[in-house]
Symmetry: C2
Subunit: 144 residues, 2 copies
Amino acid sequence: MTSQDETRIRQIAAEMRDAMVAGDAEAIVGQYAPQMVKYDLAPPLRNVAPLDAGALKTWFATFDGPVDYEIRDLEVVAGAEVAYTTSLHRLSATPLGSSESFDLWFRVTVCLRKIDGDWRVTHEHSSTPFYMDGSFGAALDLQP
Amino acid sequence: MTSQDETRIRQIAAEMRDAMVAGDAEAIVGQYAPQMVKYDLAPPLRNVAPLDAGALKTWFATFDGPVDYEIRDLEVVAGAEVAYTTSLHRLSATPLGSSESFDLWFRVTVCLRKIDGDWRVTHEHSSTPFYMDGSFGAALDLQP
C-alpha cells in the first residue's frame, strides 16, 4: 500500500467528477487507457472499444444544462502496479425537452494500472441492481 | 505481471464456477476475504457484510436441482498484491415451483488482494445493464 498512489487515485476520481460537471469530454477520456473493458449502465453487456470524446459530447448534449455529479464512499485499494476503487455515484440532470430532473445513484468499480509512471483507468463497471420481484425493473430509486 | 499469480487467479475463478454447480456454499465463501464490498445483482446498492454461507445455502435451495454456471471472456490483470478480473457469467436454473428454467448473462468484476500468501476476493461487482428506452427494465436477455 503506497499512500502516494492512493492520493493520486483519489485525485483522479475528483478530476473525473469535476470533468463531468464541466462537461469536459476530453478531460474524462484522458484518464482512460486506450485498451479498456467497460461495463456500462446501458447495453451492451460489454464494451471494449476505446472511450470516445465525441460520443461523450453527444451524451452531454442530451441534457438541458450541466449535469451534477457526486462520488461517495470512495474506497481505494492500491498496489504498486494495479489498483481498484469502489464508490457510489449520483448523476443529476434534466433531459432535453423534459421539465423534470432526475437523480440516479449507481455503483462504480474502477480498476487502474500504472502506465508510464501514472495511473490510468483500464476497467470501469457502472450499474444499478434490479428488482427480483417479478418486475425485473432497474432499481433506480435506491439511495446510499 | 506475474504469470504464477494469473494462473492462481484463473484457478480461483474455475473453483468458484465448480462450487456454484456443486452448490458448495462453504467453498464459495472460502474464496472471499472477511472484509469485502459487494455490489450484487439484487438490491441494496452496496453490501459490506461478510459473505454468509447460510444465506448462500438458502439461495441454492430456491432452485429445483443444481444450477448451471459458465464463465466466459475472463481477463486477469495481476500485480504483486492487487489484481482484478473481468468476465461474463451465465447462470441457468429452474426456480422451485416453476416449470421453466432461465438463462441469465451478467458481467462480473472481481478484485483480489494477496493475503498471507494467497489471493482472496475483496470486492465483487455483478450486474446487468438496463434499457434506457423508458421501460427501465433490467436487460436480462443479452448474450455475449
